[in-house]
């Protein structure tokens, strides 16, 4: 995995050379260049004078300067994050993004104080090329597919029309304000105002994610706000570029506006297609990674990043491309690669997006401290006010229309949260720096920073109490029971059938059609032969095994039919759910994946009281929590094993690949810490007396028997 780090580090080192933080003992280089696009490669001053004699001990900072500084920044970000979580009551009140910005402000202030010049700033290229993709990729990979597509119409409605409404509204009203305050703001033209409107109106996915993840509102609300923030990128990009090119043109005609409209469609759909293409290629590649499993995760990242870069190259929407890529390749990649690779992918995604997000917020704070500010009370205040007003009216109007077409109306409380949760973030910040220079640019920069800080701090901090105050419907904490699962599936099938009878091509119809297409063509082509039926019960037992190897000491998920306890073991629930979701035809897994940056497993996992089933004799006192049958009934063990072997026989898949899988990764994965750790744990489990090792050994024996 070291290879993964050096590549982006080297690339960013070159580009982020402008972020050079000259150490105090150096000759102070005059960094008087405007920190906006800082493409100056720092030469770092004269190197240390080499005396004639040979030195035993020497310091050569410049050799490692760039990567050293980058690592220091990342270290700062991560330590700040750690500190945040250890700081007691603070996480409950203040969202993480706020704290990070404050840390950034502090650091920026310190640097300013020490060097008496502006601290390094977030260069737009670094942001768009390196910091943004991991976050969006993470969001796309863990997107709850079913919910997203069910609400796609509404999301698109908000994203496209809502953004247009906001942009035009804010731009035009700001122009009105500029006209009113002729004295100070007279030289801001209409196009400038529209340009500013286009960059300030967009809701930012990074900020939304970081604030909403701690709130646990109901999933529909979450997906609406979050989906909107992802998809409005297409509109924002086009409008921004459109107005920018209009600024350069001598005159603007109606035809140009029309072309601009077409461009929105092209940009959005183009990004989608690029993402689809790369997603399918990635899925196909993952099919052949069985012999080199260690680098399988690499393909996921490479292809996603390629899709992003390609669409940026073609001036299409990079965010849409990378999200589509992630959504497309997820199910095939998960079926194709080994469990270890899956875990690696997920962990790396979380880690990278976490680091990116932290860095972004810190840099937002640092970049606020600079001497390019220009303040203008009317402009700043009116921008703030207008942003709020236009967003609120936009949401109200659009929801009124869209509620007529939805099965599930968006309530007023939800609407309020949608309007209030429209946070601005680093995308606006980077875009404002990219504007061509003109007299009032500094005013724009200042205003953008103020708006971002306002939305993140004021709205970010108050939204959680508001959610509780308004009693917005929260996320269902408990996972559905088995009954609910089964009956819900029944109802889904029933509804699909009734829709067929009525001849109504509703959601169920299209979902069915897609699933059939998927099964018939895509899965056959993109998933390894011996993993085709992997979507069946084999997964349950591999999940079992994986958990035991991880040392979670959880109970085997099979239900002992003879035990008449009412206790629902979470692990067995999970496995039953897995069986159902993999096997019940045509409907996707309803599990909402983790949004949280900090955990990988579902929130509910941490909510359920973890009741580890200790099998060791020494922990006898815990046994009283459990029905005695569970422990002492050795028949249940045999039953489980019989079921196991029978199921494996039914599946007619040789269990060999399963075992080979884990052993292969164990042998070939020295750099990957996780499988190595797992394999160290499992032999330990073989040793102590107890049912786990016996079961595992028996499992192995059963497999041998079947050869």
């Amino acid at each position: 995995m070291a290879a993964l780090w050096t590549l982006p580090l080297l690339l960013s080192a070159r580009l982020l050379g402008c972020l050079a933080l000259t150490p105090p003992d150096e000759l102070p280089q005059p960094h008087n260049l405007p920190p906006s696009l800082g493409f100056n490669i720092s030469h770092g001053g004269p190197s240390v004078d080499l005396p004639m004699a040979l030195r035993v001990f020497s310091v050569d900072y410049h050799h490692v300067q760039a990567p050293f500084e980058i690592v220091l920044w990342i270290m700062l970000a991560s330590l700040a994050k750690l500190g945040f979580h250890w700081s007691g009551r603070v996480p409950a009140v203040v969202p993480e993004s706020c704290v990070l910005i404050m840390v950034g402000l502090l650091v920026g202030g310190v640097i300013y104080g020490v060097r008496h010049s502006a601290p390094p700033t977030l260069s737009a290229d670094a942001f768009f090329l390196f910091l943004l993709p991991p976050i969006v990729l993470d969001a796309g990979y863990f997107l709850p597919g079913r919910l997203f597509f069910e609400n796609l119409g509404t999301i698109l409605w908000y994203a496209v029309l809502g953004t247009l409404w906001n942009v035009l509204g804010i731009g035009l009203s700001l122009y009105g304000v500029c006209l009113l305050a002729q004295s100070s703001l007279g030289d801001v033209s209409l196009l400038h105002c529209l340009l500013f409107g286009s960059l300030i109106a967009a809701v930012d996915p990074v900020a939304v994610l970081s604030v909403f993840q701690e709130m646990h509102v109901n999933e529909q609300l979450h997906i609406l706000v979050f989906g909107e923030s992802l998809l409005n990128d297409a509109v924002t990009v086009v409008l921004y570029k459109l107005f920018e090119s209009f600024l350069r043109l001598p005159s603007v005609s109606g035809l140009d506006v029309l072309l601009g409209g077409c461009r929105v469609v092209v940009v959005g759909l183009g990004g989608l297609c690029v993402g689809l293409f790369f997603g399918l290629v990635a899925a196909l590649t993952s099919r052949f990674t069985s012999k080199a499993q260690v680098i399988a995760p690499l393909f996921v990242f490479l292809y996603s990043y390629l899709s992003y870069l390609t669409s940026e190259m073609l001036h299409l929407s990079g965010i849409m491309a990378i999200v589509t890529c992630a959504v497309t390749m997820k199910q095939y990649v998960e079926a194709n690669v080994s469990e270890h690779s899956n875990t690696s992918i997920q962990y790396f995604l979380k880690m990278w997006s976490s680091v990116s997000e932290t860095l972004i917020f810190i840099f937002l704070g640092v970049s606020t401290i600079q001497d390019v500010h220009m303040w203008s009370w009317p402009f700043v205040c009116s921008t703030l006010l207008l942003c709020l007003i236009w967003r609120a009216t936009g949401v109200l109007l659009l929801t009124a229309v869209v509620n007529k077409l939805r099965r599930n109306a968006v309530t007023f409380r939800d609407q309020f949260i949608i309007a209030y949760g429209g946070l601005r973030g680093a995308i606006c910040f980077s875009l404002v720096f990219l504007i061509d220079d003109f007299p009032k640019k500094r005013l724009f920069i200042t205003t953008t920073i103020v708006v971002i800080l306002f939305t993140v701090f004021v709205q970010g901090m108050t939204i959680k109490p508001l959610v509780e105050l308004l009693d917005v419907k929260r996320k269902k904490r408990a996972l559905p029971t088995v009954s609910e699962e089964i009956h819900s599936r029944l109802i889904d099938h029933l509804l699909a059938g009734i829709e067929d009878v009525v001849g109504y091509w509703g959601q169920h119809y299209w979902k069915d059609k897609f699933e059939q297409f998927n099964k018939k063509y895509l899965r056959r082509f993109l998933i390894r032969e011996d993993h085709q039926a992997r979507s069946s019960i084999l997964r349950v037992y591999q999940e079992l095994e994986r958990r035991e190897q991880r040392g979670d000491e959880e109970a085997p998920p099979l239900v002992d039919p003879r035990s008449h306890s009412r206790l629902l073991l979470p692990e067995e629930m999970d496995s039953i759910r897995r069986i159902l979701s993999r096997n019940l035809q045509n409907f996707n897994n309803k599990q909402t994946p983790a949004y949280s940056r900090h955990t990988l497993h579902q929130d509910a996992t941490t909510d359920r009281t973890r009741k580890p089933l200790h099998r060791h004799q020494s922990l006898g006192e815990r046994r009283t929590h459990w029905p005695q049958q569970w422990y002492h009934n050795s028949d249940s063990v045999t039953l489980e094993l019989n079921a196991l072997s029978r199921v494996l026989a039914v599946c007619s898949i040789s269990p060999r690949p399963v075992l080979q899988d884990s052993s292969a990764t164990a042998q070939t994965g020295p750099a990957d810490p996780r499988p190595a750790g797992d394999d160290q744990v499992s032999p330990q489990h073989q040793v102590p007396a107890g049912r786990t090792p016996k079961k595992q050994l028996s499992f192995v024996l059963e497999n041998e028997k079947q050869q």
């Binding site: 099965r407 089964i486 819900s488 599936r489 009734i498 009878v501 009412r566 096997n583 039953l639 199921v647």
Partner: protein, 195 residues
């Protein structure tokens, strides 16, 4: 198609269906044209074969049971009234209906009636209980061939255990309602019938 529909369906019938099911005039006419397009024999009733000709329904795992639900006890033909009566269960519940006449009989698309419809998909013998076997049958239909009988049996047992409050090892209708109380049935079991 439209003209044929309107001549064959009398106004009084439309009014009666409207009162019974709550569909609007245009919805009824539209569904009538669907009915006639399914009715290949052109005798004003649908048989089981007519339903089975619908391609997607044939691959639906619960296809046969859904078709059965349209036909009243023991009969092989269903007329338009019966067709509409069944479909009325899936009309979305409108807010203004909720506060209507409390003494009037429950509309066909109430939550209880929707759940009863789903319940009847399991309970073939109409004894008002879902036995373990009935549950297993439906599970097997939904799950396919990849799971062993034993595994399926455990799932069925768990389902019954979760619902069963009186210990008779089967699920009664009230227990069924109780289990699904957290599920938004009104929304799940509704189709937007286009106007």
């Amino acid at each position: 198609m439209g003209s044929r529909a309107s001549t064959l369906l009398r106004e009084e019938e439309i009014e009666e269906i409207k009162k019974e099911t709550g569909f609007s005039h245009s919805q009824i006419t539209r569904l009538y044209s669907r009915f006639t397009s399914l009715d290949k024999g052109e005798n004003g009733t649908l048989s089981r074969e007519d339903f089975q000709r619908i391609p997607e329904l044939a691959i639906n795992p619960l296809g046969d049971r859904i078709i059965n639900a349209f036909f009243p006890e023991g009969e092989d033909q269903v007329n338009f009234r019966g067709f509409m009566r069944t479909l009325a269960h899936f009309r979305p519940i409108e807010d203004n209906e909720k506060s209507k006449n409390p003494t009037a009989s429950e509309p066909l698309n109430s939550r209880t009636n929707k759940l009863l419809f789903a319940f009847r998909l399991y309970d073939l013998d109409r004894d008002d209980k879902i036995s373990r076997d009935e549950l297993l049958q439906v599970l097997r239909m939904m799950v396919g061939v990849n799971i062993s009988d034993e595994q399926l049996g455990s799932i069925a047992d768990r389902t019954i255990q979760e619902a069963d409050t009186n210990g008779d090892n089967s699920i009664s209708f009230n227990e069924f309602i109780k289990v699904l109380e957290k599920v938004d049935v009104e929304q799940k079991m509704s189709i937007r019938f286009l106007h």
